[in-house]
Amino acid sequence: MSDELDLGIALADVRKAYRLLWCYQKRVFDILRLIVSEFDDRRFYYWRSAHTDPPAGSGSDPTERWTWDMLPMVEASYLYLQRGVFDPNSTQPGQWMLEVKVTSDTGFKDPGQGRDPDPEDFAAAPQSNSSISIYAWYCTGATTLNWFYGVWKRLVRPEIDGELVESAAPPFRVVGKTFDIATLIDKDAVRAAASEFKTMASKALGVALV
């Protein structure tokens, strides 16, 4: 087969991949909205991609940056505060932030040293997973810290489901649970996952999360 023909097939596959990604991302958004709606009075606060910077703004040259910067949903966190939290630069005991982290490819590997991760170095796609983790960031002491920069960026998340990470500064407890997206097949499954997290996190934190 000629190179030109190979390339033609490959570019058709790229077009297919974009369309499939659209289908996937639309479903991820639907899952995010449904998870958040299972908690009382949540409002969107912030999002951040895990490995990359947010996509380049219109005044920035995307070719100067990682290719992955333009594919931020490969792994991203979405943060939601209670509607009553009006000042993001203040945390009060009893307030908590909901984080939903979507890891579209657990095989993603950051080579470090500022290099653009190359999929050739990733674990094989069939042997990797896609997951959604839900975390509760529970405040135990008043601070004037920003929920994103002062809390979320400074603390590490627990690596094990149900394990509590307790921090004195900032005064927070974090607990989470990870679900394989392959099991979140429909609305009922997503609702069940949110409910399972709520029960587990409430028990770990010793407070009823609603």
Partner: protein, 258 residues
């Protein structure tokens, strides 16, 4: 929402709303707020768009395709008392739409009964139908009347609507015309609209947001992705074909610096 306050005499929140609860919570528990919010916005849309939405939402499909439609009047929670003698009470339907459609124009009245968590009730439909008939002398009666049931648990399918109609005929001796739809049917109807005017698009977006607040949103299940991926059938070889160092010839015209 405005009409739930100004026209809805006696409309009230459920008793589980207490001092200090958020407006959002109060709003979300109220069938009346949902009804008013949706229908107030429908009334801002042009007649043909309202016609299209109603036609797509309710089953059986009772509205013919028409381009000339005018929403003459919309009434929220009117009190109909003329049939008090027969029914023993006044009747208050949720929304009444009066339309003029077609050329030559025909008058059409749509009596809308909305439910959030409660069930649609054939007795209530019959009372609204009878109360409407008694409220207007024959000279003022429209060419056509339909009772539209929106929402309710469980959702009513066409068969259930036909059973309700038959039950009303049997028990009350009146022949009614009815159609039903769920709030999710309304959402789907909004998805299938062909809107050219930016003002209509803004209003429809607002209606979608209101439905979203009440949990009525479209959801594409992840389970469909397997079929979609199989349809796309992306080949592993394509990744190799697009790597610069593996296919320099095919990409020779592009600047390659590594």
């Amino acid at each position: 929402m405005l009409n739930a306050i100004t026209h809805g005499k006696g409309r009230h929140f459920q008793s589980d709303i207490s001092a200090g609860d958020s407006l959002r919570k109060a709003f979300l528990r109220s069938e009346d707020m949902l009804t008013a919010t949706i229908f107030e916005r429908l009334a801002y849309l042009s007649g043909p768009v309202v016609w299209q939405i109603l036609g797509l939402t309710f089953r059986p499909r009772f509205l013919p395709s028409l381009k000339i439609v005018q929403l003459e009047e919309i009434e929220f929670w009117p009190t109909w008392s003329e049939a008090r003698g027969r029914l023993g009470k006044s009747v208050i339907p949720d929304v009444v739409l009066r339309l003029s459609a077609g050329d030559p124009p025909r008058s059409l009245v749509l009596i809308v009964e909305c439910k959030l968590d409660g069930s649609q009730d054939p007795n209530q439909w019959a009372e609204e139908w009878i109360a409407h008939a008694d409220e207007y002398p024959s000279s003022q009666r429209p060419d056509e009347v339909w009772l539209l049931a929106l929402g309710g648990r469980p959702p009513l399918f066409e068969g259930a609507v036909a059973r309700f109609v038959a039950e009303i005929h049997r028990n009350r001796g009146v022949e009614i015309q009815a159609a039903a739809g769920d709030w999710t049917d309304l959402l789907r109807a909004l998805d299938n609209l062909d809107l050219s005017a930016i003002t209509d698009r803004r209003i429809v977006l607002d209606i979608r947001q209101a439905l979203d607040l009440f949990g009525y949103r479209t959801f594409s299940p992840m389970s469909e992705l397997g079929r979609l991926a199989a349809d796309y059938a992306i080949a592993d070889a394509s990744i190799g074909s697009l790597r610069w160092h593996e296919r320099p010839k095919a990409l020779g015209s592009l600047p390659i610096d590594r």
